[in-house]
Amino acid sequence: MSITRAFAAGVRDAVGSPALVAVLWLALVAVALPAGVIIEQSIRQSIGASRVDESLLAGLDLGWLGEYEAAARGLERSVSVSMVGAGAVFDNLEAWFSGELFTLLPAAAWGALYAAVWLFLLGGVLDRLARRQRGFVLAPFVAAGARFFPRLLRLAAVSAVFYWAVYRLGRWLFPWIERRLGEVTVERTMLAAHLAGAALVVLLLAVGNLVFIYAKIALVCEGRRSALVAVLRAVRFVAARPLRAIALYGLLGLLAVALVALYAAVAPGPGQGSWPAVLAAFAVGQLYLVARLTLRLAWLGAHVRFWERERLSSAALKGGGLG
C-alpha cells in the first residue's frame, strides 16, 4: 500500500469520526477541567477585590503575575507568561524535546492520570479502526478499552524504559557537545551542533514512537498479549519497510507541524476584555485541541491501514494466512 493512500485513509477515518473525536475531546476536558477549576479559583483569590482585574482584562499584568508566581504552590507554578497565544504549545514542545515535561510533579501526576485514560481510550480507538466501524457506539468502544487496557499498560511500561533512555542520552549528549565545542566562539556553529543533537534525540523519539504505534496495533489488531512480542513484531515490521514506514510517519509529522504553525498564526493574544471575547479565545484553543486529537486519530488510522495492507500483501506473497 502506498503511504499516501494510507495517509489519506487515516485522515478520512479521523475526519469521518466526529463522534469519536468528541469522545476523545470530552475525555481530555474531563481530566483537565478540575485542574482548570483549581487554577481559576487560585487566580480569583489572588485578584480578590483588587482593581487589577482591569489590567488583567486589558492584557497580562506582569506585576500581578510576579506576585502570583512568588506565592505559587503545586500546579499554580505552571502559570507563566508564555501561556499566552502559541506560547502554550511551544512550551510543551520544548518540554517534550527536553524531557522537562515530567519535572513539574503536580502537572506530571495529572499527566500520568491522563495517560491512563488515553490508554483506555486507545484500546477502543484501535479496535474500532481495525474493525472499520463507521458509526460510534459507546458500549463496544468501552468494552474494547477495558479489554486492551492491561496489555497496553504493559506496553507503556516497556516504552517508558525506552523513552527514559532517550532522555538520558539527551542529558548526556548536549553537555558532551558543549564540552567538545568548548573552544567554539561562533553561536551559529554551536546552534548547528545542537540542532544535530536535537535531530538525533527527536529521531530516536520518533522511531521509538513509530515502533510502539505498530506494537499497539499488534496488541489490539492481532490480539497479542505480550508487550515484548508486540514490540518485536513492530520492529520486524518497520525493519522490513523502513523507508515507507518512516515516510508515512514523517508525512503525518509534517501535518502536525502545519497544525502548530497554523495555531501559532491564529492563537489569541492576551487582550480579551469581555465574556464573548474570552469565550471566543477559549474556543479557538479548543478548536486547536480538537484538531490535534483528530490528527492523532488520523495518525493511528493511517498506521493501522498501512499495517493491515502490508500484512495482507505479505500474506498474499507467501500464499498463506497472516503470519
Partner: protein, 680 residues
C-alpha cells in the same frame, strides 16, 4: 607568608623593562592637567602567549600618597588568583549563591592565576625584593591569594611618590567573572597587580568576592600589549603606536588618563566598525565597535544604543569627555558580556534577537552608562556597589523607555537539556509589554529583606546581592523620581555627578547632595531604604459603604430611640453614605502614602497618610456609595512589594479575569496532557 617568586622566564622580560624609559618620556609630553588626582599610574608591557595561554608582564607603578598620613606598606589586588583553586573566597561564595559563574564543570586547564616574580622600588639604592605576603583582610581565608601586602623600606609621606617595578606572569583562565579566554578570544580585565586605595583610615584593599566588583584610584595608563600579528585588539584608551616585531607578533600601545583600570581584548575574529557620536552641546565621541562577524546585522543597533546612552546620560548628568569609546561584542560562550571598564565595555547579543525585545539594547545602554557611574564617578564597588549599579540601572531604564519605549516579552526556546545555555530560538510575545520597574520589582521581591543595603556589598548574601544593589536602588530612585519629580532628581544626580567625578564618593556623600539639592530632610527615606532591610507593603484591607444614618439606637430628645432602616435614609437619592476604608501597613518599612477613594457618582477624595502606624481608618460621608479605594494610586512607592493589594473594590470583579486567564492556562494544560499522551 612571602609570595612565591618564580624565576622562570625572568630573562625574557628584560627587553620590556628596557622600553619603559621611552614610555615615561613620551608620557611626559605637554598635556592638559589631569581631571583626577592621577595618583596611581601604570606603565605596563605585556605579552600574550596564546599557545601557553599566559601573560608575561612587567610594570612600573607610580603612586602618590594623597592622604595626610604616611604609610610604609602597599596593598595590591591579584584578582586572577580568585580562580587559582576551589578554595578561594570567590569560589566559595560562588558556590553559596547556588550557581557556578561558569555554569559548567571546571577542568584542570580552566584555572587561572597570577604570580609576582619580582617587585622592587625603582631608583632606590640597594633596595632588593620587597617583602610581601598574601593577606585575607575580609574573611581570614588562608587559601585566598587575591590580596598582596607589600612592606616598603621607608614610609611614603603625604604628597610623596614611589615607583614600584614588578614582573609577573599570569595564566589566562577559561572565563570566570567575565575575564578569560575561549578559543582565540581573549578578554583580559583586572589582569595585572593592581594597587588598592589608600584612604584616611588606611588601605582599602578587599579580597575578590563573587558578588562584588572593583575599586581603584585614578591615574594614567600607558600599556604596550604584544599579541599575534593579524589579531584585532581593543583596549582602554586610544592606540598611540603599533609596531611589528618581526616575529609574528605586533605590539599595540594604548594610553589613557583619568581612569582607574585598564582592560583589553584580542581576537582574530573581530569586525571593526566605527562611527562618530555627535550631539549638540556634547563633545564628540569616536565609537569603535568590535563585533562578532555573525552579528554584523546588529551593528546599527549597537551604535544606536551607545549613542542613546552617551546623549541622554550626557544631557542628564554631564558630558562624556574621553572622546572615544570601545564597544565589545564578546564571542559566543566567552562569558565576557555585560561588563564595564573605563572607555571600553562589553555588551552581548545573540544570533537571533528580535528588535524591540530589549536585547542587545538593554545591556549596551547599561554598560555604556557605567562610563558615567563607575567610570567617572568612581565609588568603592566592594563596599557600595549599589551606588553605581543602582543609579545606572535606574538610568538605563529611563534611557530605554525614552528611546525605545517598553520592550516586549521574549522567550528563548531550544535550550539544550543538561546545559546552562539559554535557548537559541527567540519567540516574541509582542502583546506582552514589559514595564521595567515592574520587572525590577519582580526580581527584588524575594530578596527584599535579605540584606541591609548599608552593609558592605561584599558581605551581602551572594545569592541576593544583585537584587539589593541593582533592583532595590533602582526602585527607590524611581520612587524618589515620582515623589520629588524628575527635574529635582535629575538635579540631584547631576550635582552628585559633577561634584564627585574622578573621585570616590560614599553613600553619605550622595545623601548629602540629595538633601542639599532638594532642600528636604530625606534622612527618614534613606533610613527606610538604605539603613534597614524591611519590606514595603501597603494594603487596602477593607472597604465598606453604608447609609450614614444606620439602623439602631440613637440619642433622641427623650433618651435612646430605636431608628429603623427605612427612616435612616435607605437608598433614595437624598441618602448620605458613610464609607470606611482601612489601610494597613503590612511591611516593616514606612512611606507617606495617598489614599484615593472613588465613589459611584464618579466623585473622588484624596487623603494623605504618613504611613507610620500599622493601620488607619479613613471615613468619608458623601451622597454616593464608595466604589473602590486605592492606596498610593500613582504608584509613587515603586518598592511596594504587592501592588495588587493596593486597591480594593466594594464589589469584587474578579470572575471574568480569573476565567480568562484560567481558560488560557487550561488550553496550555490540555495541550500538555496531549503531549504527555505521546509516550503511551
Amino acid at each position: 607568608m612571602v609570595a612565591n617568586v618564580a624565576d622562570a622566564d625572568r630573562m625574557r622580560f628584560r627587553p620590556y623593562f628596557a622600553l619603559l624609559p621611552l614610555a615615561l618620556a613620551t608620557a611626559g609630553a605637554a598635556q592638559p592637567p589631569p581631571r583626577s588626582a592621577d595618583n596611581a599610574s601604570y606603565q605596563i608591557e605585556v605579552r600574550l602567549d596564546p599557545a601557553a595561554r599566559t601573560l608575561h608582564g612587567s610594570q612600573i607603578l607610580t603612586w602618590t600618597n594623597v592622604q595626610q598620613q604616611a604609610t610604609d606598606e602597599l596593598w595590591f589586588h591579584l584578582y586572577w588568583n580568585a580562580w587559582r583553586n576551589s578554595r578561594s573566597s570567590w569560589m566559595l561564595e560562588d558556590r553559596i549563591r547556588g550557581r557556578s559563574d561558569r555554569g559548567e564543570r571546571i577542568e584542570r586547564d580552566d584555572w587561572g592565576w597570577i604570580e609576582i616574580e619580582s617587585m622592587r622600588l625603582v631608583g632606590a639604592d640597594g633596595s632588593g625584593e620587597l617583602a610581601r605576603s598574601f593577606e585575607s583582610p575580609d574573611d581570614g581565608n588562608p587559601d585566598d591569594r587575591t590580596v598582596l601586602w607589600v612592606r616598603l623600606p621607608a614610609p611614603v609621606a603625604a604628597g610623596e611618590t614611589v615607583r614600584v617595578a614588578s614582573r609577573w606572569r599570569a595564566r589566562v583562565p577559561r572565563t570566570f567573572a567575565r575575564t578569560g579566554r575561549r578559543g582565540d578570544y581573549y578578554f583580559l580585565a583586572h589582569w595585572f597587580p593592581k594597587l588598592g586605595v589608600f584612604e584616611p583610615d588606611g588601605w582599602n584593599c578587599h579580597q575578590y568576592h563573587a558578588a562584588t566588583e572593583y575599586y581603584s584610584d585614578y591615574g594614567s595608563y600607558d600599556v604596550s600589549m604584544t599579541v599575534p600579528e593579524g589579531w584585532v585588539l581593543g583596549a582602554t584608551g586610544r592606540e598611540s603606536e603599533r609596531r611589528g616585531n618581526g616575529d609574528g607578533t605586533v605590539t599595540h600601545r594604548y594610553r589613557e588618563r583619568d581612569v582607574h583600570a585598564f582592560t583589553w581584548t584580542v581576537s582574530p575574529d573581530y569586525l571593526v566598525l566605527e562611527e562618530r557620536f555627535e550631539a549638540a552641546g556634547l563633545p564628540p565621541v569616536d565609537i569603535r565597535l568590535l563585533l562578532q562577524p555573525e552579528h554584523r546585522g546588529q551593528a546599527a543597533r549597537h551604535f544606536a544604543a551607545t549613542r542613546a546612552a552617551l546623549e541622554l546620560y550626557g544631557r542628564w548628568y554631564g558630558p562624556y569627555p574621553y572622546g572615544h569609546l570601545t564597544v565589545v561584542d564578546p564571542a559566543w560562550g566567552s562569558g565576557a558580556g555585560g561588563m564595564e571598564y573605563p572607555t571600553l565595555f562589553t555588551c552581548g547579543t545573540r544570533l537571533f534577537n528580535p528588535p524591540g525585545g530589549g536585547s542587545p539594547e538593554g545591556v549596551t545602554v547599561h554598560e555604556a552608562g557605567h562610563q558615567f557611574w563607575y567610570g567617572m564617578v568612581g565609588n568603592n564597588e566592594f563596599a557600595h556597589a549599589w551606588l553605581d549599579e543602582g543609579i545606572n540601572t535606574f538610568s538605563t531604564a529611563r534611557v530605554l523607555l525614552e528611546r525605545y519605549g517598553e520592550s516586549f516579552h521574549v522567550k528563548r526556546y531550544f535550550r539544550p537539556p543538561g546545559t546552562s545555555s539559554s535557548g537559541f530560538l527567540p519567540v516574541a510575545f509582542r502583546q506582552i509589554r514589559i514595564d521595567p520597574w515592574i520587572e525590577r520589582l519582580n526580581r527584588y521581591r524575594a530578596d527584599a529583606t535579605s540584606d541591609v543595603q548599608q552593609d558592605p556589598t561584599y558581605r551581602y548574601f551572594p545569592g541576593s546581592a544583585s537584587s539589593i544593589s541593582y533592583s532595590k536602588t533602582a526602585l527607590w530612585l524611581v520612587t524618589l523620581e515620582r515623589w520629588l519629580g524628575w527635574d529635582t532628581l535629575r538635579a540631584v544626580l547631576s550635582t552628585f555627578f559633577e561634584r564627585w567625578q574622578y573621585r570616590h564618593p560614599g553613600p553619605e556623600d550622595f545623601f548629602a547632595v540629595a538633601e542639599e539639592v532638594t532642600g528636604r530632610d530625606l534622612d527618614g527615606f534613606f533610613d527606610q531604604v538604605y539603613r534597614r532591610a524591611e519590606a514595603f507593603d501597603y494594603e487596602v484591607a477593607s472597604v465598606a459603604s453604608m447609609p450614614a444614618a444606620v439602623e439602631g439606637w440613637v440619642e433622641g430628645d427623650d433618651g435612646l430611640v430605636y431608628r429603623p432602616a427605612a427612616a435612616a435614609g435607605g437608598d433614595d437619592e437624598t441618602a448620605v453614605y458613610r464609607s470606611e476604608v482601612v489601610v494597613r501597613r503590612n511591611g516593616g518599612a514606612t512611606f507617606p502614602v495617598e489614599l484615593l477613594m472613588v465613589f459611584e457618582d464618579g466623585s473622588e477624595v484624596r487623603r494623605q497618610w504618613d504611613g507610620r502606624r500599622r493601620w488607619r481608618l479613613f471615613v468619608e460621608q458623601r451622597p454616593a456609595r464608595l466604589a473602590w479605594a486605592e492606596v498610593d494610586p500613582e504608584r509613587v512607592l515603586a518598592l511596594d512589594l504587592s501592588p495588587t493589594n493596593n486597591s480594593r473594590r466594594r464589589e469584587p470583579r474578579n470572575r471574568l479575569p480569573a476565567v480568562k486567564w484560567a481558560s488560557k492556562w487550561l488550553v496550555w494544560f490540555q495541550d500538555y496532557l496531549l503531549t504527555f499522551a505521546f509516550f503511551v
